[in-house]
Subunit: 105 residues, 2 copies
Amino acid sequence: MDRTGQIAVIFVSQRTDADAAGYAAAAEAMDRLAAAQPGYRGVDAARGTNGLGITVSWWADEAAAIAWREHPAHAAIRAEGRARWYDRCEIAVAAVTRSYEWERP
Amino acid sequence: MDRTGQIAVIFVSQRTDADAAGYAAAAEAMDRLAAAQPGYRGVDAARGTNGLGITVSWWADEAAAIAWREHPAHAAIRAEGRARWYDRCEIAVAAVTRSYEWERP
């Protein structure tokens, strides 16, 4: 998919060891909710065995990314994240200027 | 770290099952080489047990990101990646408009 012009929200986080089940349920609920928002263009996520994870959510434009940030359920879950699930996190919002993809033929 | 103004190179990749040792050695060598380039501002990487990985490398500006793309050793290793290590990959280059960070107090 050509992502030129999209907004990438890059979320880098270090999980605590706490509450694996609660975290998994919340992550799945947020994925579902994000996917239902206007301007949603997908998500990529990976977390290693050391607990460091990266999630990139892709949005049609800035307004869509901001609307997702401001969604009440999303804002509420961030408080849970800071209380229990994360030791640290970093977010960067970035405008895609070019993209490429390759798949094994 | 405030990443506003930096360039994020987002690399999403699906590993094959092949050549774990060769891949690990090459990844470490590329990390070291990238860190020695002008304008390098860090890297975040995670790969899950399903083989899907995300690497975000951060650069001072477009020129630095492009110079790294064109580095001969980096270009050579990409051919190896397509031949052996990846089933698919996607790259997006994006200009950071704002960033936030949080750490457990």
